[in-house]
Protein backbone atom coordinates (compact mmCIF):
# COMPACT_ATOMS: atom_id res chain seq x y z
CA UNK A 1 0.00 0.00 0.00
CA UNK A 2 0.98 3.64 -0.45
CA UNK A 3 3.32 4.96 2.23
CA UNK A 4 1.16 7.56 4.00
CA UNK A 5 4.14 9.35 5.51
CA UNK A 6 5.23 10.63 2.11
CA UNK A 7 2.13 12.74 1.43
CA UNK A 8 1.77 11.50 -2.11
CA UNK A 9 -1.07 12.87 -4.25
CA UNK A 10 -4.57 11.89 -3.11
CA UNK A 11 -5.44 11.31 -6.76
CA UNK A 12 -2.49 9.05 -7.30
CA UNK A 13 -4.48 6.24 -8.90
CA UNK A 14 -7.33 8.31 -10.36
CA UNK A 15 -7.70 8.25 -14.11
CA UNK A 16 -7.82 12.06 -14.21
CA UNK A 17 -4.61 12.63 -12.23
CA UNK A 18 -3.01 15.84 -13.40
CA UNK A 19 -0.01 15.44 -15.68
CA UNK A 20 2.84 17.78 -16.43
CA UNK A 21 6.17 17.64 -18.23
CA UNK A 22 9.12 17.68 -15.77
CA UNK A 23 10.58 20.46 -17.91
CA UNK A 24 8.06 22.76 -16.25
CA UNK A 25 9.50 21.82 -12.86
CA UNK A 26 12.96 22.54 -14.24
CA UNK A 27 11.99 26.06 -15.32
CA UNK A 28 10.20 26.81 -12.05
CA UNK A 29 13.07 25.35 -10.02
CA UNK A 30 15.53 27.58 -11.86
CA UNK A 31 13.51 30.69 -11.05
CA UNK A 32 13.35 29.78 -7.37
CA UNK A 33 17.05 28.87 -7.23
CA UNK A 34 17.81 32.17 -8.99
CA UNK A 35 15.77 34.10 -6.42
CA UNK A 36 17.62 32.46 -3.57
CA UNK A 37 21.14 32.90 -4.94
CA UNK A 38 22.29 35.59 -7.32
CA UNK A 39 25.24 33.44 -8.39
CA UNK A 40 22.88 31.09 -10.21
CA UNK A 41 23.26 31.54 -13.97
CA UNK A 42 21.69 29.59 -16.82
CA UNK A 43 23.42 28.72 -20.08
CA UNK A 44 21.40 27.40 -22.95
CA UNK A 45 22.33 25.73 -26.25
CA UNK A 46 19.48 27.03 -28.41
CA UNK A 47 16.73 25.08 -26.61
CA UNK A 48 15.32 27.70 -24.22
CA UNK A 49 11.65 27.04 -25.01
CA UNK A 50 11.78 23.27 -25.28
CA UNK A 51 13.70 22.84 -22.01
CA UNK A 52 11.66 25.62 -20.29
CA UNK A 53 14.75 27.38 -19.04
CA UNK A 54 13.00 30.25 -20.83
CA UNK A 55 11.17 30.80 -17.52
CA UNK A 56 14.52 31.82 -15.99
CA UNK A 57 15.33 33.94 -19.04
CA UNK A 58 12.09 35.90 -18.63
CA UNK A 59 12.81 36.55 -14.96
CA UNK A 60 16.59 37.06 -14.96
CA UNK A 61 17.60 37.97 -18.51
CA UNK A 62 20.95 39.37 -17.29
CA UNK A 63 21.86 35.95 -15.89
CA UNK A 64 20.79 33.99 -18.95
CA UNK A 65 23.49 33.19 -21.51
CA UNK A 66 22.84 31.82 -24.98
CA UNK A 67 25.75 29.79 -26.39
CA UNK A 68 24.12 28.68 -29.65
CA UNK A 69 23.95 25.04 -30.71
CA UNK A 70 27.37 24.34 -29.23
CA UNK A 71 27.24 21.85 -26.39
CA UNK A 72 31.01 21.61 -25.99
CA UNK A 73 31.19 25.37 -25.47
CA UNK A 74 28.12 25.13 -23.24
CA UNK A 75 29.99 22.86 -20.81
CA UNK A 76 33.36 24.62 -20.97
CA UNK A 77 32.06 28.20 -20.71
CA UNK A 78 30.04 27.06 -17.70
CA UNK A 79 33.15 25.42 -16.22
CA UNK A 80 34.97 28.75 -16.46
CA UNK A 81 32.08 30.58 -14.83
CA UNK A 82 32.02 28.02 -12.01
CA UNK A 83 35.79 28.27 -11.53
CA UNK A 84 35.19 32.00 -11.04
CA UNK A 85 32.39 31.44 -8.52
CA UNK A 86 29.09 31.20 -10.37
CA UNK A 87 26.61 28.31 -10.14
CA UNK A 88 25.83 27.55 -13.79
CA UNK A 89 22.99 25.35 -14.98
CA UNK A 90 23.53 24.14 -18.54
CA UNK A 91 20.49 23.26 -20.59
CA UNK A 92 20.29 20.94 -23.54
CA UNK A 93 18.93 17.58 -24.58
CA UNK A 94 20.56 14.68 -22.78
CA UNK A 95 21.78 13.16 -26.06
CA UNK A 96 23.93 16.26 -26.66
CA UNK A 97 24.76 17.21 -23.08
CA UNK A 98 26.21 15.08 -21.50
CA UNK A 99 26.35 13.05 -24.74
CA UNK A 100 28.35 15.15 -27.16
CA UNK A 101 30.35 17.02 -24.53
CA UNK A 102 31.28 14.17 -22.20
CA UNK A 103 35.04 14.73 -22.27
CA UNK A 104 34.61 18.45 -21.64
CA UNK A 105 32.43 17.59 -18.65
CA UNK A 106 34.97 15.06 -17.43
CA UNK A 107 37.98 17.38 -17.58
CA UNK A 108 36.66 20.85 -16.93
CA UNK A 109 33.73 20.12 -14.60
CA UNK A 110 34.33 16.78 -12.87
CA UNK A 111 38.12 16.81 -12.53
CA UNK A 112 37.99 20.50 -11.63
CA UNK A 113 35.21 19.58 -9.17
CA UNK A 114 33.24 22.76 -9.86
CA UNK A 115 29.48 23.10 -9.26
CA UNK A 116 28.16 23.09 -12.81
CA UNK A 117 24.66 21.59 -13.05
CA UNK A 118 24.25 19.60 -16.23
CA UNK A 119 20.59 19.35 -17.11
CA UNK A 120 19.66 16.72 -19.69
CA UNK A 121 16.14 17.11 -20.98
CA UNK A 122 14.42 14.75 -23.44
CA UNK A 123 15.98 11.72 -21.76
CA UNK A 124 14.68 8.20 -22.30
CA UNK A 125 12.69 6.32 -24.89
CA UNK A 126 9.53 8.36 -24.22
CA UNK A 127 10.96 11.17 -26.35
CA UNK A 128 8.99 9.22 -28.94
CA UNK A 129 8.50 10.40 -32.55
CA UNK A 130 11.93 12.10 -32.84
CA UNK A 131 13.42 8.61 -32.95
CA UNK A 132 16.62 6.92 -31.85
CA UNK A 133 18.93 9.89 -32.51
CA UNK A 134 17.18 11.96 -29.84
CA UNK A 135 16.41 9.28 -27.26
CA UNK A 136 19.16 9.47 -24.64
CA UNK A 137 19.53 6.00 -23.16
CA UNK A 138 23.20 6.06 -22.19
CA UNK A 139 23.48 9.35 -20.31
CA UNK A 140 23.15 7.98 -16.77
CA UNK A 141 26.01 5.58 -17.46
CA UNK A 142 28.21 8.37 -18.88
CA UNK A 143 27.71 10.51 -15.82
CA UNK A 144 27.69 7.78 -13.20
CA UNK A 145 31.14 6.46 -14.14
CA UNK A 146 32.64 9.94 -13.94
CA UNK A 147 34.10 10.74 -10.49
CA UNK A 148 32.71 13.66 -8.44
CA UNK A 149 29.38 13.88 -10.31
CA UNK A 150 26.06 13.52 -8.49
CA UNK A 151 23.38 11.90 -10.71
CA UNK A 152 19.66 12.48 -10.22
CA UNK A 153 16.63 11.32 -12.25
CA UNK A 154 13.53 12.83 -10.62
CA UNK A 155 10.14 11.12 -10.92
CA UNK A 156 7.74 13.97 -11.74
CA UNK A 157 7.62 17.73 -12.23
CA UNK A 158 7.44 18.57 -8.50
CA UNK A 159 10.40 16.35 -7.73
CA UNK A 160 12.32 17.89 -10.64
CA UNK A 161 11.76 21.33 -9.17
CA UNK A 162 12.99 20.17 -5.76
CA UNK A 163 16.04 18.51 -7.33
CA UNK A 164 16.98 21.73 -9.15
CA UNK A 165 16.64 23.84 -6.02
CA UNK A 166 18.72 21.41 -3.96
CA UNK A 167 21.34 20.98 -6.69
CA UNK A 168 21.89 24.75 -6.72
CA UNK A 169 23.05 24.46 -3.13
CA UNK A 170 25.04 21.21 -3.07
CA UNK A 171 28.37 22.66 -4.27
CA UNK A 172 29.02 19.65 -6.55
CA UNK A 173 29.01 18.86 -10.24
CA UNK A 174 25.51 17.44 -10.69
CA UNK A 175 23.66 15.77 -13.52
CA UNK A 176 19.87 15.98 -13.58
CA UNK A 177 17.96 14.15 -16.30
CA UNK A 178 14.28 14.04 -17.10
CA UNK A 179 11.85 13.11 -19.83
CA UNK A 180 10.02 15.27 -22.32
CA UNK A 181 6.53 13.80 -21.90
CA UNK A 182 3.86 14.74 -19.42
CA UNK A 183 4.00 12.51 -16.35
CA UNK A 184 1.36 12.11 -13.61
CA UNK A 185 2.10 14.49 -10.74
CA UNK A 186 1.97 11.93 -7.96
CA UNK A 187 4.22 13.62 -5.39
CA UNK A 188 3.25 16.82 -3.60
CA UNK A 189 5.10 19.82 -2.19
CA UNK A 190 5.00 18.01 1.18
CA UNK A 191 6.65 14.81 -0.09
CA UNK A 192 10.15 14.55 1.40
CA UNK A 193 13.01 14.85 -1.09
CA UNK A 194 16.70 14.78 -0.45
CA UNK A 195 19.40 14.02 -3.01
CA UNK A 196 20.98 10.71 -2.01
CA UNK A 197 18.01 9.41 -0.04
CA UNK A 198 15.69 6.83 -1.60
CA UNK A 199 12.05 6.75 -0.49
CA UNK A 200 9.84 3.69 -0.06
CA UNK A 201 6.63 4.72 -1.79
CA UNK A 202 4.80 1.41 -1.56
CA UNK A 203 5.03 -0.79 1.49
CA UNK A 204 3.86 -4.33 2.22
CA UNK A 205 3.84 -6.55 5.26
CA UNK A 206 5.52 -9.52 3.56
CA UNK A 207 7.08 -8.20 0.35
CA UNK A 208 8.37 -10.85 -2.04
CA UNK A 209 10.33 -8.43 -4.20
CA UNK A 210 11.41 -4.78 -4.30
CA UNK A 211 11.05 -2.59 -7.38
CA UNK A 212 13.74 0.08 -7.47
CA UNK A 213 12.94 2.71 -10.07
CA UNK A 214 13.85 6.23 -11.16
CA UNK A 215 12.36 8.88 -13.42
CA UNK A 216 9.01 8.33 -15.13
CA UNK A 217 9.09 4.60 -14.38
CA UNK A 218 8.53 5.20 -10.67
CA UNK A 219 4.87 5.85 -11.40
CA UNK A 220 4.73 2.78 -13.66
CA UNK A 221 6.22 0.76 -10.79
CA UNK A 222 3.44 1.98 -8.49
CA UNK A 223 0.81 0.93 -11.03
CA UNK A 224 2.49 -2.48 -11.22
CA UNK A 225 2.53 -2.79 -7.42
CA UNK A 226 -1.19 -2.10 -7.22
CA UNK A 227 -1.89 -4.68 -9.90
CA UNK A 228 0.35 -7.24 -8.19
CA UNK A 229 -1.47 -6.66 -4.91
CA UNK A 230 -4.68 -7.75 -6.62
CA UNK A 231 -2.87 -10.97 -7.49
CA UNK A 232 -1.75 -11.36 -3.87
CA UNK A 233 1.87 -10.54 -4.67
CA UNK A 234 3.32 -8.09 -2.20
CA UNK A 235 6.19 -5.80 -3.16
CA UNK A 236 8.08 -2.68 -2.15
CA UNK A 237 8.46 0.25 -4.54
CA UNK A 238 11.51 2.42 -3.97
CA UNK A 239 12.03 5.75 -5.67
CA UNK A 240 15.79 5.83 -6.16
CA UNK A 241 15.85 9.24 -7.84
CA UNK A 242 19.53 9.58 -6.96
CA UNK A 243 21.64 7.10 -8.86
CA UNK A 244 24.85 8.50 -7.43
CA UNK A 245 25.42 8.49 -4.54
CA UNK A 246 23.07 5.55 -4.27
CA UNK A 247 21.14 5.17 -1.01
CA UNK A 248 23.08 2.03 -0.19
CA UNK A 249 21.52 1.40 3.21
CA UNK A 250 17.96 1.46 1.92
CA UNK A 251 18.73 -0.75 -1.08
CA UNK A 252 20.66 -3.36 0.91
CA UNK A 253 17.84 -3.38 3.44
CA UNK A 254 15.29 -3.98 0.68
CA UNK A 255 17.40 -6.87 -0.67
CA UNK A 256 17.56 -8.41 2.80
CA UNK A 257 13.81 -8.08 3.38
CA UNK A 258 12.67 -9.30 -0.04
CA UNK A 259 15.51 -11.38 -1.47
CA UNK A 260 14.54 -10.30 -5.01
CA UNK A 261 14.99 -7.01 -6.85
CA UNK A 262 13.62 -5.44 -10.03
CA UNK A 263 15.19 -2.24 -11.32
CA UNK A 264 13.29 0.02 -13.72
CA UNK A 265 14.57 2.97 -15.73
CA UNK A 266 14.24 4.59 -19.14
CA UNK A 267 17.87 3.86 -19.92
CA UNK A 268 20.10 1.08 -21.16
CA UNK A 269 20.13 -1.83 -18.75
CA UNK A 270 23.93 -1.58 -18.83
CA UNK A 271 25.45 1.11 -16.69
CA UNK A 272 22.39 2.86 -15.31
CA UNK A 273 20.37 2.43 -12.14
CA UNK A 274 20.24 -1.34 -12.68
CA UNK A 275 23.99 -1.55 -13.06
CA UNK A 276 24.47 0.60 -10.02
CA UNK A 277 22.13 -1.50 -7.85
CA UNK A 278 23.66 -4.79 -8.99
CA UNK A 279 27.21 -3.60 -8.30
CA UNK A 280 26.14 -2.67 -4.80
CA UNK A 281 24.30 -5.90 -4.09
CA UNK A 282 26.96 -8.13 -5.66
CA UNK A 283 29.39 -6.76 -3.12
CA UNK A 284 27.08 -6.70 -0.12
CA UNK A 285 24.06 -8.98 -0.42
CA UNK A 286 23.67 -10.85 -3.71
CA UNK A 287 20.06 -11.63 -4.66
CA UNK A 288 18.35 -12.35 -8.00
CA UNK A 289 17.73 -9.16 -10.03
CA UNK A 290 15.60 -8.45 -13.10
CA UNK A 291 16.24 -5.35 -15.17
CA UNK A 292 13.59 -3.22 -16.84
CA UNK A 293 15.25 -0.94 -19.41
CA UNK A 294 16.67 -0.93 -22.93
CA UNK A 295 18.24 -4.29 -23.77
CA UNK A 296 21.40 -3.01 -25.49
CA UNK A 297 19.66 -1.62 -28.55
CA UNK A 298 18.56 1.74 -29.97
CA UNK A 299 14.99 3.01 -29.97
CA UNK A 300 12.91 4.19 -32.93
CA UNK A 301 10.07 6.58 -33.79
CA UNK A 302 6.67 6.00 -32.24
CA UNK A 303 4.38 7.36 -29.57
CA UNK A 304 5.78 7.31 -26.04
CA UNK A 305 3.29 4.74 -24.79
CA UNK A 306 3.81 2.54 -27.87
CA UNK A 307 7.55 2.54 -27.30
CA UNK A 308 7.32 1.94 -23.56
CA UNK A 309 5.07 -1.01 -24.29
CA UNK A 310 7.24 -2.39 -27.06
CA UNK A 311 10.35 -2.32 -24.88
CA UNK A 312 8.43 -3.52 -21.79
CA UNK A 313 9.11 -0.41 -19.76
CA UNK A 314 5.52 0.26 -18.65
CA UNK A 315 3.69 -1.19 -15.67
CA UNK A 316 3.00 -4.44 -17.55
CA UNK A 317 6.68 -5.00 -18.22
CA UNK A 318 7.59 -4.25 -14.63
CA UNK A 319 4.88 -6.64 -13.41
CA UNK A 320 6.25 -9.45 -15.58
CA UNK A 321 9.76 -8.77 -14.30
CA UNK A 322 8.54 -9.06 -10.70
CA UNK A 323 6.91 -12.43 -11.39
CA UNK A 324 10.08 -13.61 -13.08
CA UNK A 325 12.38 -12.58 -10.27
CA UNK A 326 10.18 -14.23 -7.65
CA UNK A 327 10.34 -17.50 -9.59
CA UNK A 328 14.13 -17.14 -9.83
CA UNK A 329 14.35 -16.60 -6.10
CA UNK A 330 12.31 -19.75 -5.42
CA UNK A 331 14.67 -21.97 -7.40
Amino acid sequence: MINKKLYLSKNIFQKDIEKETPRQGYGEGLVEAGEKDENVVVLCADVAESTRCSLFKQRFSERFIETGVAEQALATIAAGMAVYGKIPFISSYAVFSPGRNWEQIRTTIALNDVPVKIVGSHAGISVGPDGATHQALEDIALMRVTPNIVVVAPADTIETKKAIIEAAKNGKPTYIRFAREKIPIFTTEATPFKIGRAEILWESKFPQAAIIACGPLVYEALLAARELEKNAIEVLVINSHTIKPLDEREIIRAAKITGAIVTAEEHQVAGGLGGSVSELLARNYPVPIEFVGMPDCFGESGLANELLEKYKMESGGILEAVKKVIIKKGK
Binding site: V41, E62, G68, A73, G80, K86, Q104, L111
Partner: protein
Protein backbone atom coordinates in the same frame (compact mmCIF):
# COMPACT_ATOMS: atom_id res chain seq x y z
CA UNK B 1 54.16 43.18 -10.80
CA UNK B 2 57.92 43.35 -10.86
CA UNK B 3 60.12 46.08 -12.20
CA UNK B 4 62.67 44.00 -14.06
CA UNK B 5 64.48 45.65 -16.94
CA UNK B 6 64.22 44.17 -20.40
CA UNK B 7 67.65 42.53 -20.11
CA UNK B 8 66.67 41.09 -16.72
CA UNK B 9 63.48 39.69 -18.23
CA UNK B 10 65.48 38.11 -21.02
CA UNK B 11 67.79 36.56 -18.46
CA UNK B 12 64.78 35.31 -16.55
CA UNK B 13 63.40 33.69 -19.69
CA UNK B 14 66.74 31.98 -20.14
CA UNK B 15 66.68 30.66 -16.56
CA UNK B 16 63.15 29.38 -17.08
CA UNK B 17 64.27 27.69 -20.27
CA UNK B 18 67.16 26.00 -18.45
CA UNK B 19 64.82 24.77 -15.73
CA UNK B 20 62.44 23.40 -18.36
CA UNK B 21 65.31 21.29 -19.70
CA UNK B 22 66.24 20.12 -16.20
CA UNK B 23 62.63 19.23 -15.28
CA UNK B 24 61.94 17.34 -18.47
CA UNK B 25 65.20 15.43 -18.28
CA UNK B 26 64.45 14.38 -14.70
CA UNK B 27 60.84 13.48 -15.51
CA UNK B 28 62.02 11.49 -18.56
CA UNK B 29 58.84 12.43 -20.42
CA UNK B 30 56.95 15.58 -21.35
CA UNK B 31 56.76 18.24 -24.05
CA UNK B 32 59.97 20.08 -24.83
CA UNK B 33 59.33 22.11 -27.98
CA UNK B 34 56.26 24.13 -26.99
CA UNK B 35 57.51 24.67 -23.44
CA UNK B 36 60.81 26.16 -24.63
CA UNK B 37 59.06 28.20 -27.31
CA UNK B 38 56.83 29.97 -24.80
CA UNK B 39 59.51 30.93 -22.26
CA UNK B 40 59.35 34.63 -23.21
CA UNK B 41 55.55 34.78 -23.11
CA UNK B 42 55.41 33.19 -19.65
CA UNK B 43 58.23 35.42 -18.43
CA UNK B 44 56.50 38.54 -19.71
CA UNK B 45 53.23 37.44 -18.10
CA UNK B 46 54.51 36.44 -14.66
CA UNK B 47 57.18 39.13 -14.33
CA UNK B 48 55.61 42.12 -16.04
CA UNK B 49 52.03 41.79 -17.23
CA UNK B 50 49.95 39.91 -14.67
CA UNK B 51 48.49 41.62 -11.66
CA UNK B 52 49.05 38.79 -9.20
CA UNK B 53 50.44 37.83 -5.82
CA UNK B 54 52.29 34.50 -5.65
CA UNK B 55 51.74 34.44 -1.87
CA UNK B 56 47.97 34.80 -2.34
CA UNK B 57 47.07 32.64 -5.33
CA UNK B 58 43.35 32.94 -4.46
CA UNK B 59 43.36 36.74 -4.30
CA UNK B 60 39.97 37.55 -5.91
CA UNK B 61 41.26 40.52 -7.91
CA UNK B 62 44.15 38.67 -9.53
CA UNK B 63 44.38 38.50 -13.29
CA UNK B 64 43.45 35.02 -14.51
CA UNK B 65 45.84 33.07 -16.70
CA UNK B 66 44.31 30.04 -18.39
CA UNK B 67 46.72 27.67 -20.09
CA UNK B 68 44.66 25.85 -22.68
CA UNK B 69 47.41 23.69 -24.17
CA UNK B 70 48.22 22.15 -20.82
CA UNK B 71 51.03 20.02 -22.18
CA UNK B 72 53.43 22.98 -22.14
CA UNK B 73 52.96 23.27 -18.36
CA UNK B 74 56.72 22.86 -17.69
CA UNK B 75 57.07 26.46 -18.88
CA UNK B 76 54.25 27.61 -16.62
CA UNK B 77 55.54 25.64 -13.63
CA UNK B 78 59.05 27.03 -14.05
CA UNK B 79 57.74 30.58 -14.34
CA UNK B 80 55.54 30.08 -11.26
CA UNK B 81 58.46 28.73 -9.24
CA UNK B 82 60.65 31.67 -10.22
CA UNK B 83 57.82 34.06 -9.40
CA UNK B 84 57.58 32.56 -5.91
CA UNK B 85 54.42 30.42 -6.01
CA UNK B 86 56.29 27.41 -4.65
CA UNK B 87 59.90 26.28 -3.97
CA UNK B 88 61.99 25.68 -7.08
CA UNK B 89 62.82 22.16 -5.79
CA UNK B 90 59.26 21.12 -6.61
CA UNK B 91 60.15 21.39 -10.30
CA UNK B 92 62.30 18.30 -10.06
CA UNK B 93 59.24 16.22 -9.10
CA UNK B 94 57.39 16.99 -12.34
CA UNK B 95 55.16 14.06 -13.36
CA UNK B 96 56.12 11.93 -10.34
CA UNK B 97 53.74 10.22 -7.93
CA UNK B 98 52.25 12.58 -5.38
CA UNK B 99 53.66 15.70 -7.02
CA UNK B 100 51.53 18.88 -7.26
CA UNK B 101 53.15 19.25 -10.69
CA UNK B 102 51.06 16.82 -12.71
CA UNK B 103 51.88 15.87 -16.29
CA UNK B 104 49.03 18.15 -17.27
CA UNK B 105 48.17 20.92 -14.81
CA UNK B 106 45.36 20.38 -12.31
CA UNK B 107 43.50 23.09 -10.49
CA UNK B 108 42.99 21.12 -7.30
CA UNK B 109 46.63 20.05 -6.98
CA UNK B 110 48.53 23.29 -7.47
CA UNK B 111 47.30 26.67 -6.15
CA UNK B 112 47.68 29.28 -8.88
CA UNK B 113 46.55 26.95 -11.63
CA UNK B 114 43.13 28.38 -12.49
CA UNK B 115 41.77 25.35 -14.28
CA UNK B 116 42.70 21.82 -15.23
CA UNK B 117 43.85 21.52 -18.83
CA UNK B 118 45.47 19.25 -21.33
CA UNK B 119 42.65 17.96 -23.52
CA UNK B 120 42.89 20.52 -26.33
CA UNK B 121 40.44 23.17 -27.40
CA UNK B 122 38.78 23.69 -24.01
CA UNK B 123 40.78 26.56 -22.52
CA UNK B 124 39.44 29.48 -24.50
CA UNK B 125 35.83 28.65 -23.62
CA UNK B 126 36.71 28.51 -19.93
CA UNK B 127 38.60 31.78 -20.17
CA UNK B 128 35.59 33.29 -21.95
CA UNK B 129 33.33 31.96 -19.18
CA UNK B 130 35.50 33.64 -16.55
CA UNK B 131 35.62 36.87 -18.57
CA UNK B 132 31.85 36.86 -19.01
CA UNK B 133 31.25 36.19 -15.30
CA UNK B 134 33.75 38.90 -14.32
CA UNK B 135 31.95 41.42 -16.49
CA UNK B 136 28.61 40.48 -14.90
CA UNK B 137 30.12 41.40 -11.53
CA UNK B 138 31.97 44.49 -12.79
CA UNK B 139 35.23 42.86 -11.69
CA UNK B 140 38.30 44.73 -12.92
CA UNK B 141 40.75 41.90 -13.48
CA UNK B 142 41.76 40.72 -16.93
CA UNK B 143 41.65 37.20 -18.31
CA UNK B 144 44.55 35.82 -20.33
CA UNK B 145 44.49 32.58 -22.22
CA UNK B 146 47.37 30.75 -23.89
CA UNK B 147 46.49 28.44 -26.76
CA UNK B 148 48.53 26.41 -29.18
CA UNK B 149 48.13 26.70 -32.91
CA UNK B 150 47.55 22.95 -33.25
CA UNK B 151 44.52 23.06 -30.97
CA UNK B 152 42.83 25.37 -33.46
CA UNK B 153 41.79 22.12 -35.16
CA UNK B 154 39.28 21.63 -32.32
CA UNK B 155 35.66 22.66 -32.85
CA UNK B 156 35.27 23.60 -29.19
CA UNK B 157 37.88 26.33 -29.66
CA UNK B 158 36.00 27.98 -32.52
CA UNK B 159 32.72 27.75 -30.62
CA UNK B 160 34.44 29.83 -27.96
CA UNK B 161 35.87 32.23 -30.57
CA UNK B 162 32.30 32.85 -31.75
CA UNK B 163 31.06 33.27 -28.18
CA UNK B 164 33.74 35.79 -27.16
CA UNK B 165 33.22 37.68 -30.40
CA UNK B 166 29.45 37.79 -29.94
CA UNK B 167 29.68 39.15 -26.41
CA UNK B 168 32.61 41.51 -27.13
CA UNK B 169 34.66 40.18 -24.24
CA UNK B 170 37.26 42.94 -24.26
CA UNK B 171 38.60 41.86 -20.85
CA UNK B 172 39.89 38.71 -22.55
CA UNK B 173 43.31 38.54 -24.23
CA UNK B 174 44.42 35.39 -25.97
CA UNK B 175 47.88 34.28 -27.05
CA UNK B 176 48.23 31.83 -29.90
CA UNK B 177 51.56 30.03 -29.78
CA UNK B 178 52.10 30.08 -33.55
CA UNK B 179 55.00 27.65 -33.76
CA UNK B 180 53.67 25.81 -36.82
CA UNK B 181 54.10 22.31 -35.41
CA UNK B 182 51.80 19.73 -33.90
CA UNK B 183 52.27 16.04 -33.10
CA UNK B 184 51.92 14.66 -36.61
CA UNK B 185 53.98 17.36 -38.29
CA UNK B 186 53.68 20.94 -39.49
CA UNK B 187 50.28 22.57 -38.89
CA UNK B 188 49.88 23.56 -42.53
CA UNK B 189 50.29 19.90 -43.54
CA UNK B 190 48.14 18.37 -40.80
CA UNK B 191 45.30 20.89 -41.07
CA UNK B 192 46.04 24.32 -42.52
CA UNK B 193 45.17 27.28 -40.29
CA UNK B 194 46.07 30.16 -42.56
CA UNK B 195 44.92 32.84 -43.00
CA UNK B 196 44.68 32.83 -39.20
CA UNK B 197 44.62 36.61 -38.80
CA UNK B 198 41.69 36.89 -41.19
CA UNK B 199 39.86 34.07 -39.48
CA UNK B 200 39.93 35.84 -36.13
CA UNK B 201 39.04 39.18 -37.69
CA UNK B 202 35.99 37.66 -39.33
CA UNK B 203 34.85 36.43 -35.91
CA UNK B 204 34.84 40.01 -34.58
CA UNK B 205 38.20 39.88 -32.78
CA UNK B 206 40.98 42.44 -32.57
CA UNK B 207 44.15 40.80 -33.92
CA UNK B 208 47.83 41.49 -33.25
CA UNK B 209 50.66 39.62 -34.91
CA UNK B 210 53.99 39.63 -33.05
CA UNK B 211 57.39 38.03 -32.53
CA UNK B 212 56.74 35.74 -29.58
CA UNK B 213 60.37 35.82 -28.48
CA UNK B 214 60.52 39.61 -28.24
CA UNK B 215 59.54 40.43 -24.67
CA UNK B 216 59.05 44.13 -25.42
CA UNK B 217 56.66 43.27 -28.25
CA UNK B 218 54.73 40.90 -25.96
CA UNK B 219 54.35 43.57 -23.30
CA UNK B 220 53.40 46.22 -25.86
CA UNK B 221 50.80 43.95 -27.43
CA UNK B 222 49.09 43.39 -24.07
CA UNK B 223 49.15 47.14 -23.39
CA UNK B 224 47.55 47.66 -26.77
CA UNK B 225 44.87 45.05 -25.95
CA UNK B 226 44.01 46.87 -22.72
CA UNK B 227 43.04 49.88 -24.79
CA UNK B 228 40.63 47.93 -26.99
CA UNK B 229 37.14 48.20 -25.53
CA UNK B 230 35.12 46.80 -28.40
CA UNK B 231 36.47 43.28 -28.90
CA UNK B 232 38.48 40.50 -27.38
CA UNK B 233 42.09 40.58 -28.56
CA UNK B 234 44.12 37.72 -29.93
CA UNK B 235 47.89 38.04 -30.03
CA UNK B 236 49.35 35.68 -32.58
CA UNK B 237 52.82 35.11 -31.18
CA UNK B 238 55.19 33.63 -33.74
CA UNK B 239 57.59 31.36 -31.91
CA UNK B 240 60.23 28.79 -32.69
CA UNK B 241 59.44 25.41 -31.15
CA UNK B 242 62.41 24.27 -29.10
CA UNK B 243 63.78 27.85 -29.09
CA UNK B 244 67.25 28.21 -27.61
CA UNK B 245 68.37 24.63 -28.20
CA UNK B 246 69.81 24.24 -31.69
CA UNK B 247 69.06 20.54 -32.10
CA UNK B 248 65.42 20.94 -31.04
CA UNK B 249 64.41 24.08 -32.93
CA UNK B 250 61.64 23.70 -35.51
CA UNK B 251 61.50 19.92 -35.33
CA UNK B 252 58.05 18.35 -34.78
CA UNK B 253 59.63 15.25 -33.22
CA UNK B 254 60.50 17.34 -30.16
CA UNK B 255 56.83 18.14 -29.58
CA UNK B 256 56.26 15.35 -27.09
CA UNK B 257 59.75 14.24 -26.13
CA UNK B 258 62.05 14.88 -23.17
CA UNK B 259 65.85 15.21 -23.51
CA UNK B 260 68.17 12.45 -22.33
CA UNK B 261 70.89 13.28 -19.83
CA UNK B 262 73.40 13.90 -22.60
CA UNK B 263 70.98 15.98 -24.65
CA UNK B 264 70.10 18.00 -21.55
CA UNK B 265 73.78 18.67 -20.88
CA UNK B 266 74.26 19.97 -24.42
CA UNK B 267 71.10 22.04 -24.22
CA UNK B 268 72.05 23.63 -20.90
CA UNK B 269 75.47 24.45 -22.28
CA UNK B 270 73.92 26.26 -25.24
CA UNK B 271 71.62 28.18 -22.92
CA UNK B 272 74.60 29.14 -20.76
CA UNK B 273 76.36 30.68 -23.75
CA UNK B 274 73.13 32.49 -24.61
CA UNK B 275 72.96 33.84 -21.07
CA UNK B 276 76.45 35.27 -21.48
CA UNK B 277 75.36 37.01 -24.66
CA UNK B 278 72.33 38.53 -22.90
CA UNK B 279 74.57 39.79 -20.10
CA UNK B 280 76.94 41.40 -22.54
CA UNK B 281 74.15 42.93 -24.57
CA UNK B 282 75.04 40.95 -27.69
CA UNK B 283 71.64 39.33 -28.07
Amino acid sequence: MSTLSLAELEKKANEIRSDIIRMLQKAKSGHSAGSLGMAEVFTALYFSILNHDPKKPDWPERDRLILSNGHICPARYAAMAHAGYFPREWLWKLRSLGSPLQGHPERLRLPGVETTSGPLGCGLAQAAGIAYAARMDNARFRVFCITSDGEHDEGNHWEAVMFAGKYNLSNLTVFVDRNNIQIDGFTEDVMPLEPLVDKYKSFNWHVLDIDGHNIQEIINAVEHARAVYENPTVIIAHTIPGKGVSFMENLPEWHGKAPTKEEARKALNELKILKGKIRNGQK
